[in-house]
């Protein structure tokens, strides 16, 4: 090949070479990882609520309370801690993962042993009692009519909806171990729906979930009715972990005492099914009746 031709060929291939260079890959760069949050944010205070709703519903109801607290107390940020179920919640209680918590009365007792103390409780205890539902068209008129029938409850540790009804039935002539079949269906709504559908003869629940059920499912609710109610026990408490700063605990208490007049308060109480209720200051001693009932219940039920 003479030099002229070689030059020609080189000139002709120049653009091709240039094009080939264009296809080079760019270097990939993902996120880099650090051991501390790059956000110089405030400290997070976890506020656990017992799973009276599924996590998203619970978030819907109680996130306003977090907003309220964050407005009231500005040096830290309150964050709602939801749980998938009671076991999950209790495990986190026991692990002391949350600085403040709103457990149910039963958990209020056991949490005292895990390092929490009561700082406030709902003022009105009247709602905290058990209700036993039957279908309206049922011919059950007294507890003994349940003999041979099936009764359902949300969960074994549900104080108002399970323990108080069972105690009632047991103290009204039924031998729970033999006379009836008992079934735990996971939640209040599930419990009531079992009655509506006639899959059980009776079901345990308590007033707040009943009121919510009436609103949510009016047709179904019209088919059932509470036939018996139990005695009342102290209602829900707010607990603080023992190592929580005293000032912050006091601030939270003051905030809770004002909640019912705050704009967020109505939604929070309605979400709990406790419309018209409010918080007041309380201590561990306020829950002595619960401890007494549990002792009585344990003795009565034995291995049941």
């Amino acid at each position: 090949m003479n030099p002229q031709r070689r030059l020609l060929l080189r000139s002709g291939l120049l653009p091709v070479a240039w094009l080939a260079g264009c296809g080079r890959e760019e270097a990939a760069r993902g996120p880099q990882y650090l051991t501390q949050s790059p956000l110089a944010g405030q400290g997070v205070v976890r506020f656990g609520v017992h799973p009276l709703h599924n996590p998203q519903k619970l978030h819907q109801v109680f996130d306003p309370l977090m907003v309220y607290l964050n407005r009231f107390i500005t040096d830290v940020r309150f964050e709602l801690e939801a749980s998938n179920n009671y076991a999950h919640f209790e495990a986190k209680l026991q692990a002391r993962e949350m600085e403040f918590s709103l457990p149910n009365p039963y958990q209020t007792l056991i949490a005292q042993d895990w390092g929490y103390r009561v700082i406030a409780k709902l003022a009105d205890d009247n709602d905290f009692r058990g209700l036993i539902f039957i279908r309206r068209d049922s011919r059950i008129r007294q507890p003994l009519d349940l003999k041979g029938r099936t009764v359902c409850y949300p969960a074994p540790t549900a104080l108002a909806a399970t323990m108080l009804p069972r105690h009632f039935l047991a103290t009204h002539g039924l031998d729970l171990r033999h006379d009836v079949r008992e079934r735990y269906v996971g939640s209040m709504e599930s419990s009531l729906m079992n009655v509506v559908r006639g899959q059980v003869a009776a079901a345990g629940a308590w007033p707040p979930p009943w009121r919510q059920f009436q609103r949510a499912h009016p047709v179904e609710a019209a088919q059932i009715m509470p036939i018996w109610q139990t005695e009342a026990l102290p209602s829900l408490a707010v607990m603080a972990r023992l190592d929580a700063p005293e000032a912050r605990t006091a601030a939270v208490l003051r905030a809770l005492e004002q909640l019912h007049v705050a704009r967020e308060g109505r939604g929070v109480f309605a979400g709990m099914g406790m419309e018209g209720n409010h918080f007041r200051a309380a201590g561990n001693a306020d829950y002595a009746p619960v401890r007494a009932f549990l002792d009585k219940y344990t003795r009565l039920m034995g291995g049941a």
């Binding site: 002709g12 291939l13 094009l19 996590p55 996130d63 709602l80």
Partner: protein, 920 residues
């Protein structure tokens, strides 16, 4: 440079390279575009997949994040780890802490770019943190009840698709290379085919360049190249034809003009035969030599500098050059030098075309010399000369014309002559026709109208006399007009004065007898029915007393004052005249006799009341007034004059200082009486020889004259009472009654008789107009001459100017006749009654006697002095001797001496004495 020549030095290579380059560029663009589109498509899909994965993860991670269900979240993450191309999958809480990650070691750490996530707008759902082929990094906020509680984040690489894309691109490159190769080969083939014919044309072009003009390109088909061949052949045909034409032009030019070509340095590189011929150099001597060879050295250095300045800038130069031939003689050429520029924009060649104009230049120089001569001549002459072209535009003003008009030659040139020469009539001020225009109009010489005045530029006026004459070309056509004029202000002023003198009495300023008679004649010439006029004759009483006791000066002063007095008493239209001596006349037009009488009475009264003081003496004068009516019946001046004269005489006779109105009946009586009286008196005097002769010396002024004694002979009449009478008393009567001829003869006889006894004297004899009319008088004189045997040259006859002019023809004949005998002649009273010097030229007199009225006041009156000066100069110019009368003092004599008057006469020189007393 070699690369450039390689590509663009050959059409064939340009074609090959061009086609190859187009192929390469087009194919490369195509492959590049395809690869780009594919890559973009893949990236789009990659992004969509990453977003879908992220959304899925975000939706399912709500509960896990709310409940901090780490295990549950890890399961979600693990479930997506198997997706092809996954780089990372993670769930982050609101603080950016890794809650779950497909690389478990990352859990519990924080991502560094959490701020980016927090700051990113979340309305769009996903946040695209990185988008390229290596990694599409997408995050999506996990929300519970509208509040962000954490993020789901997926990083997705390309995986296999990148490799597939690369393979496609490689294939494309191979295709491109093949296409370029095919294109280049095809272009090479086409190039050879196209350019073969171009090379053929090129070969023809080279042949033509070598001079083979007949070569033509072969016919090569109908396409553009074939057409080019045809056009090229046509161009060669045109070229051949133009070359032929140029050759012919050149030979024609060489026949006509002197042509040379010079290089940039001015060295001759071509010279035609004409140049060889006119310069005398051979062609070999001229070529390669600088043009300076021909320099004549007659032009100033700046001339050639200017020429070079022009042509070196690329401009054509025209001009006339004087060159020197080899033989040394000079020749003139009209040259045009045209510079031709080279590619650098500077002249590289000059073509000079010349025409021999030596003959023309010689003619021009001759013409210039002629013109110069003419202009110098015009500038030197004393008259103003103005020339115009045929249209009347000024072409030349000589210096005198410039001075007289106030226009410079430069300013006037080119203007219409009427613009610069404003000519008006001296009396009316009306514009008069410009002689130039008249001359142009009529084509003949024109003299200026009399009384023309030139209005000068910038004010002032000038009396001029002028004429205009046509200038004609060779063919007889009018090519211009020459106008000549001169300043005649002095002559014109003098003529005015002369005219005034002719009609006025010089002493009193009143109308003189001549004018008075003219007016009277005019009045009689147009008689009207019922129109009545009156004539008054005034004669002063006791005037003689004043004159005799105090001298002429006092008498003259009295007359002047009385003139002023009388002039104030007559009406504006009336004519008051001094008729001579102490006689005055008043012509009252349209004045009935009664009114005339009233006016006369008024005059008489005022004169009576007038007191004249002279050197402490007081005089009272009176006046006798005669009135003669003038009506249709009045037939002549003589009649009415005689009537008034007689009436006046009657008034005197009746006791002076009174008025007498003439009556028809006493006319005859008076006339008779007077005739008898006067005529009888003169005749008696002649018979009784009571006339006697006096002589008054005429003395030469200054050194001239020597011992010659001149006397004017004066006539006196001794009355019956033995007293001498002044000629003023009897000469008017002698003239009126025709007795002067006899008186003159008596004077001549007696003077000649005296001269015979005293032959050394020179005597001047006064002759009356009557004698001039007497044809026998000259014979009488010559007879007396012969009888007395005297020298005629010692006799000078004095004739008054008035008499001479009145009978000019006779006077001239008489003078010529007697001058042949040797007699001398003198023109008396010159200036008093003269209207023009013109007459003077016709009167061959020897002496000019300047009127004493001018001489008397010569010391105090500059106008009189100017008159005397002028008359003296004119007289002397005409070869006459001048004599001043009335020289009454030494001062006057000195003044006359200064002026240069030849002779003086008067009381200041000598008083008249009886002739016999001179003869000592």
């Amino acid at each position: 440079m070699s690369l450039r020549r390689f590509f663009f030095g050959s059409v064939r290579r340009q074609l090959v390279f061009g086609v190859a380059a187009v192929h390469a560029v087009m194919m490369s663009l195509f492959v590049w575009d395809l690869a780009t589109r594919q890559r973009e498509f893949l990236l789009l899909r990659q992004t969509e997949q990453a977003e879908t994965l992220t959304q899925t993860l975000a939706v399912s991670a709500v509960s896990g994040l709310l409940t901090h269900d780490v295990a549950g979240m890890q399961e979600l993450v693990n479930a997506q780890d198997d997706y092809p191309g996954i780089v990372f999958v993670m769930l982050l809480d609101a603080e950016g802490r890794v809650m779950a990650h497909n690389q478990p070691g990352r859990v519990g750490l924080y991502v560094d770019d959490v701020q980016t996530l927090v700051a990113a707008p979340t309305e769009a759902g996903t946040v695209l943190l990185s988008k390229n082929q290596a990694l599409v990094d997408v995050a999506m906020p996990v929300k519970a009840n509208g509040r962000g509680i954490g993020w789901a984040r997926v990083g997705l690489g390309q995986g296999e698709t990148a490799a597939r894309l690369h393979a496609v691109t490689q294939d494309g490159l191979v295709y491109t290379g093949v296409a370029i190769l095919i294109g280049a080969l095809l272009a090479s083939w086409m190039g050879r085919r196209l350019t073969a014919r171009l090379y053929a044309i090129r070969r023809v072009s080279a042949a033509v360049s070598d001079g083979r003009l007949a070569r033509r390109a072969p016919l090569m088909g109908d396409d553009e190249v074939g057409q080019l061949g045809l056009d090229f052949n046509r161009m060669l045909d045109d070229l051949t034809r133009h070359e032929l034409e140029l050759t012919r032009f050149k030979s024609a030019l060489d026949e006509h003009a002197i042509v040379s070509i010079a290089d940039a340095a001015g060295n001759i590189v071509y010279a035609n035969d004409k140049l060889v011929s006119i310069s005398g150099y051979s062609r070999e001597e001229l070529l390669g030599v600088n043009h300076r060879l021909l320099n004549s050295g007659t032009h100033p250095p700046g001339f050639f500098q200017g020429m070079w300045h022009t042509i070196a800038r690329g401009n054509t130069w025209h001009g006339e050059i004087c060159n020197r031939a080899k033989a040394g003689h000079l020749y003139w050429v009209l040259s045009t030098i045209v510079p031709f520029k080279g590619s650098d924009g500077r002249p590289e060649q000059y073509i000079a075309i010349r025409a021999d104009i030596s003959a023309r230049m010689a003619a021009e120089q001759a013409l210039y010399a002629e013109k110069e001569l003419a202009q110098v001549t015009l500038a030197s002459i004393g008259d103003a000369v103005v020339t115009t072209d045929a249209d009347g535009r000024v072409t030349f003003f000589n210096p005198v014309a410039e001075r007289l008009t106030g226009w410079s030659n430069a300013a006037a040139s080119g203007r219409m002559v009427g613009e610069v020469l404003h000519l008006v009539h001296e009396d009316t001020g009306d514009m008069v026709a410009n002689p130039v225009d008249q001359c142009r109009k009529h084509g003949v010489a024109v003299n200026l109208a009399q009384h023309t005045v030139l209005l000068k530029q910038g004010g002032g006026e000038l009396a001029i006399e002028d004429s205009a004459a046509p200038i004609r070309g060779k063919d007889g056509r009018l090519t211009g007009v020459v106008m000549v004029f001169r300043d005649v202000s002095d002559q014109r002023a003098m003529a005015h004065e002369m005219a005034w003198q002719l009609s006025h009495d010089s002493l009193t300023g009143l109308t003189n007898r001549r004018e008075f008679e003219r007016r009277l004649q005019a009045l009689l010439a147009c008689p009207g029915p019922g129109v009545r006029h009156a004539l008054l004759f005034l004669d002063l009483d006791q005037f003689k007393i004043v004159n005799d006791t105090c001298g002429h000066l006092a008498g003259d002063e009295l007359l002047k004052r009385l003139s002023v007095l009388l002039q104030g008493l007559v009406r504006g239209e009336d004519v008051l005249a001094r008729l001579g001596g102490d006689e005055f006349g008043v012509l009252l037009e349209n004045c009935p006799l009664e009114q005339a009488r009233v006016i006369a009475e008024k005059l008489r009264q005022h004169v009576r009341d007038f007191e004249f003081l002279w050197q402490d003496k007081r005089f009272e004068v009176g006046v006798s007034i005669g009135i003669a009516p003038i009506d249709a019946a009045t037939s002549s001046i003589a009649e009415v004059t005689a009537a008034a004269d007689m009436a006046c005489y009657a008034a005197k006779e009746h006791g002076r200082n009174r008025i007498h109105v003439h009556a028809i009946e006493d006319l005859d009586m008076e006339r008779r009486h007077k005739e008898l009286h006067v005529a009888g008196g003169i005749r008696a005097a002649l018979e009784e020889n009571r006339f006697t002769l006096f002589g008054q010396e005429i003395r030469a002024i200054g050194s001239q004259g020597g011992a010659v004694e001149h006397y004017e002979v004066l006539l006196r009449l001794r009355g019956e009472n033995g007293l001498l009478q002044s000629p003023a008393l009897f000469i008017p009567a002698a003239e009126r009654y025709g007795l002067m001829g006899e008186v003159d003869r008596w004077v001549v006889s007696n003077t000649f008789d005296f001269l015979a006894r005293q032959p050394h004297l020179h005597l001047a004899i006064n002759l009356s107009g009557l004698s001039l009319q007497d044809e026998a008088f000259a014979g009488f004189v010559t007879r007396e001459l012969v009888r007395n045997r005297i020298d005629a040259s010692h006799v000078c006859f004095e004739i008054t100017e008035t008499a001479a002019i009145t009978h000019l023809g006779l006077a001239v004949g008489f003078i010529r006749d007697l001058k042949t005998w040797g007699f001398r002649f003198s023109l008396d009273d010159f200036g008093s009654g003269m209207s023009s010097f013109t007459y003077l030229k016709n009167l061959p007199v020897d002496y000019l006697k300047i009127d004493g009225a001018f001489v008397r006041d010569i010391v105090s009156d500059p106008i009189d002095r100017a008159f005397v000066e002028t008359i003296n100069r004119i007289g002397q110019v005409m070869g006459m001797k001048t004599i001043a009368e009335f020289v009454e003092s030494e001062e006057i004599l000195h003044e006359l001496e200064r002026i240069g008057v030849d002779y003086a006469q008067g009381f200041g020189i000598a008083k008249p004495v009886p002739l016999e007393e001179i003869a000592v």
